[in-house]
């Protein structure tokens, strides 16, 4: 795989991350299911995965950029695994709704593992690293970058509304910032 197809794959990765962050907001606003602290931490690690693709678009594909995404996904998978284990006892209904039979944290675990696998697959293609030329960002790539950044910034406001200026509640049911 040469540099340009690799850059395209990184653009697609950014749109996928934006899709995950958008889906999280959809569940939060349409189903009124506010994220718990562990859920927020998993969102943070989805945001962290985006650092690799953004660096790849800006400076060209490098193994170190993929490594950053793999590290973020690995720790994110650990967070999801912890939440799965908290609810593994028989009879435990789990936290939040189930989508297609799996809770959000189970989906998050699968997505983190998929991200690790995809980044490892991308590392198999050595020819993307041979070209030292810095790619000029495409319009689609620039939009993807700023879309992800906007969604991360939206999480700043959302989390401020959920937690207010205090510690985030374990099982949030209302926006603390707007409580009297």
């Amino acid at each position: 795989m040469k540099q340009s197809p690799a850059v395209l794959m990184n653009v697609l990765a950014l749109y996928a991350i934006a899709g995950v962050l958008f889906a999280a907001f959809a569940m939060q606003f349409w189903l009124s299911e506010l994220p718990c602290p562990l859920c927020l931490l998993q969102r943070v690690f989805f945001c962290a995965i985006a650092a690799g693709p953004i660096l790849n678009l800006r400076y060209g594909p490098r193994a170190s950029h993929y490594a950053l995404s793999i590290l973020a996904a690995l720790i994110g998978a650990s967070v999801s695994a912890r939440q799965i284990l908290l609810h593994i006892l028989p009879g435990d209904p789990g936290f939040g709704s189930a989508v297609f039979g799996y809770h959000y944290y189970t989906w998050a675990f699968l997505l983190f593992v998929a991200a690790i696998g995809l980044a490892a697959l991308m590392l198999l293609f050595d020819r993307q690293f041979e070209d030292d030329e810095v790619p000029s960002p495409s319009l689609g790539g620039t939009i993807a970058v700023w879309l992800v950044i906007a969604l991360v910034a939206a999480n700043v406001l959302s989390t401020l509304a959920i937690c207010g200026f205090a510690e985030c509640p374990d099982n949030p049911v209302r926006y603390q910032l707007f409580q009297k």
Binding site: P37, L38, V44, F45, C47, R58, L68, S78, V145, E167
Partner: protein, 52 residues
């Protein structure tokens, strides 16, 4: 509040990844990853404050 600051930090890191020199961007990403991991470790070592 700590999670609000964490998202704020990552907003800055991703903007830095796009706009700042590569060495600064990578350094900022590693520091932010370390801080986020530290928060996770802090939480799992104190289960009473960690939600599900």
């Amino acid at each position: 509040m700590i999670f609000t600051l964490l998202f704020f930090l990552w907003t800055g890191v991703l903007i830095a990844a796009w706009m700042m020199p590569r060495s600064i961007a990578i350094g900022a990403t590693i520091v932010a990853l370390g801080l986020t991991l530290a928060l996770f470790i802090h939480h799992i070592s104190d289960p009473l404050t960690l939600s599900f």
